[in-house]
Amino acid sequence: MLVQDIMTSPVQFIAPNVTLQDAYQMMQEKGIRHLPVLDNGRLVGVITDRDLRLATSALSPAPFSPGANVSAVMSRTPLTAAPSDPVEDAARTMRERKIGCLPVDDNGRLVGIITGLDLLDALMRMTGADKPSGRLEVRLADRPGELARLAGFMSGLDLNIHSILTYPEDSEKTRAVLRIGSIEVRLLAEDLRRAGFDVLWPPARPCLP
C-alpha cells in the first residue's frame, strides 16, 4: 500500500500572508487540522491547529494576535512524502519525528496530504477490519512452509482471505491472524483443529458434549 493510495487529494492549503484568524476559520469550516502553506505554488511550511492554539494561548509568555501572519507561526521546511512511498515508511517518519502529517510532494508539486488518521485507515484496510469478516488466529511453528500449509488447507474451500498478518510469538512460534470473508469461520476452525492446527481463535468449545 502506497502513500498515493491513502492520501487526501486534492489538498486544502493556505498562503503565508493570511492571518491566524483566517487559518483558524478555514480549519473549522473544513474540519481539518493540518494546512500546508504554499507561496507561489511552492511548499514553504505547514500550520496545524496545535500551532494555532499554542501560538495564541493566553498561557504563552508572548502570545500572537489573531491578526498575525501564518508565516510567523508555521513550521518551516516541512518533511514530505512521495506518492510512491510505502505507507509503512511514511508511518516510520511520522512516528520518529513525532509529527501529525506529511504533505505529499510529486516532483515539486503538492498533490496530497496524509495524517495519522489516514494511517489508521490504512491499518484497518491492511487487516481487513473494514470488511464483513471473521477472525482466525493460528499458532504456527516458525519454519518454512507452515503458512503455505495453512493457506493450502483453505484453498478449494472458496474462502476469500481478506488479510494475513503474522508476528513472532517467541523464537519458535509465529502467530498468523487472518480475516476471512465468511460467516463460517467457526466451522473452519474445527476443521483446522481436526487437521492438527493449533487454533487460538475461535476458542475450542470445552462445554459442549
Binding site: S133, L159, I183
Partner: protein, 376 residues
C-alpha cells in the same frame, strides 16, 4: 388475532445443498406446529418490487443481483459479495430475495393497518448492506420494512437477538433519528462480521440511537437476560417506539454450529416473553418478528415454533411429537430430543463463568455511559 406471514416461494431462497441457511429449518418449524395440532394459516404476501428494494439498496448492486439471477455473468460480482462461499449465486435469486423482503414489508403494512403481533416466517437478512450481499443475506428485508414504517411516521425500535451483529440494518439506518437499533450479539473479536462495538453509536441525527452489546463468547442465559434488561430499560427511557421490529435469530442457542453463545430454549422463552411485554408496555403491543440465523437443526425449529406459540398465547408443550422427530432425523440426519425444551443440564459448566458475567456488566456500563451522553 396475530398475523403470520409465509409463502411457499420463500423455499426458493436456497443457496444449495450443504449450505447452512437452508429453507428446511422453517419447514421443520411449520411441520412441528402441524404435528402439535396447530394449523398455520399464513397471510400470503407479494414479492417486494424493485422500487421497494431500491429504498435501501444501491442500483448498481441490484443490477448485479438481477443479472446473476438470470444467469448473466458479472465479472466483478465478488465486489458485491456475490458468488462467494457464503453467498453463492443461484438462478432466480433476485426474485427469491424479493419474496422474502416482500413478506417482511407486508408485515410492516399490516402493522400500519392496525395489526399488533405479526410473525414473518422467514427473512431477518440483517447483514445485507446498501451495496453488498453478506453473510447469507442478499436484500435487507428488515431495512425495507423499517424504512417503510419510519416514513409513515412510526418511531421504530429494532431489536436484533441474532448471535451475529446486525451490521447491514445498522449501516442503512445509521443516521435515521426515527429508528433506534439495539443488537445483542457475540463479540466481533473473532465472530463475523467483526463490527458491533459499543462505540458504534450512530451518526448525524441518529447519534446515540444505535446500540451494540458485544457479549463474551460462552455467555449464558442469565448474563444475557440481565444485559437485555439493563440495556432495554435504559434505551426505552430515552426512545419511545411506536413499533418493535425484532430479528429473532435462533443462533444464540448453545447448540448452534456457527457461534458460541449459550442460550437454552428456556432462555429464549424468557427473552420472547420480555419482548412481548415491552411491546405491550411501550408500543401498544405492535411488534413485527422475523426469523434470522439459526443453524442447529435440533434447536432452531423448536425456538421458532415456540415463538409462534407465544405470540398466539398458546402453551409450549412438554414433549416433541415422536413422529416429527423420527421424520426429521431421517431426512436431515440430525439428532432430535424427546422434550420440547432443553434439559436442565444440557452442556458442561462454563469454566470462566464469573469472569464472563463481570465482563458483560462492564460492557453494558461503558455502553450506557457513552450513549447517555447523547440522550437528553
Amino acid at each position: 388475532m396475530p398475523s403470520v406471514i409465509y409463502h411457499p416461494a420463500y423455499r426458493n431462497y436456497d443457496f444449495g445443498k450443504h449450505h447452512p441457511f437452508s429453507p428446511v429449518r422453517v419447514e421443520m418449524a411449520l411441520d412441528l406446529l402441524d404435528a402439535l395440532g396447530y394449523t398455520v394459516n399464513p397471510v400470503q404476501p407479494e414479492p417486494a418490487t424493485r422500487a421497494d428494494i431500491l429504498s435501501v439498496h444501491e442500483e448498481n448492486f441490484v443490477n448485479c443481483v438481477e443479472a446473476l439471477s438470470s444467469e448473466v455473468d458479472v465479472p466483478d460480482s465478488a465486489r458485491y459479495g456475490l458468488g462467494t462461499r457464503d453467498n453463492p449465486v443461484f438462478p432466480g435469486m433476485d426474485e427469491a430475495a424479493r419474496w422474502i423482503a416482500g413478506g417482511t414489508l407486508h408485515g410492516a403494512r399490516l402493522i400500519e393497518q392496525g395489526e399488533r403481533r405479526v410473525l414473518q416466517l422467514g427473512g431477518g437478512l440483517h447483514h445485507a448492506r446498501r451495496d453488498v450481499a453478506s453473510g447469507f443475506c442478499i436484500y435487507n428485508d428488515l431495512a425495507v420494512a423499517i424504512r417503510y414504517l419510519s416514513q409513515r411516521g412510526f418511531w421504530v425500535a429494532y431489536l436484533d437477538v441474532d448471535v451475529h451483529h446486525g451490521d447491514g440494518v445498522q449501516q442503512i439506518l445509521y443516521e435515521d433519528m426515527h429508528v433506534m437499533t439495539v443488537s445483542l450479539h457475540e463479540s466481533g473479536r473473532y465472530l463475523f462480521p467483526g463490527t458491533g462495538d459499543i462505540h458504534e453509536l450512530g451518526s448525524g441525527p441518529g447519534r446515540g440511537l444505535k446500540l451494540n452489546i458485544p457479549l463474551e463468547p460462552f455467555t449464558e442465559g442469565e448474563s444475557y437476560l440481565e444485559t437485555f434488561e439493563k440495556v432495554m430499560s435504559a434505551a426505552l427511557g430515552q426512545f419511545r417506539p411506536g413499533v418493535f421490529v425484532v430479528q429473532a435469530g435462533a443462533d444464540a442457542h448453545f447448540d448452534d454450529p456457527l457461534a458460541d453463545l449459550m442460550l437454552t430454549t428456556h432462555d429464549y422463552e424468557t427473552l420472547f416473553n420480555r419482548i412481548l411485554h415491552l411491546a405491550d408496555t411501550f408500543a401498544a403491543g405492535r411488534v413485527l418478528f422475523t426469523l434470522g440465523g439459526g443453524y442447529s437443526l435440533c434447536a432452531a425449529p423448536r425456538i421458532w415454533a415456540m415463538l409462534y406459540l407465544m405470540i398466539h398465547d398458546l402453551p409450549v408443550p412438554e414433549r416433541l411429537p415422536a413422529a416429527w422427530c423420527d421424520r426429521w432425523s431421517r431426512i436431515t440426519g440430525a439428532w432430535m430430543p424427546e422434550e420440547f425444551h432443553d434439559p436442565d443440564l444440557c452442556y458442561r459448566p462454563v469454566t470462566n463463568r464469573e469472569e464472563i458475567i463481570l465482563r458483560n456488566r462492564h460492557v453494558v456500563r461503558r455502553l450506557l455511559d457513552s450513549a447517555s451522553h447523547y440522550w437528553v
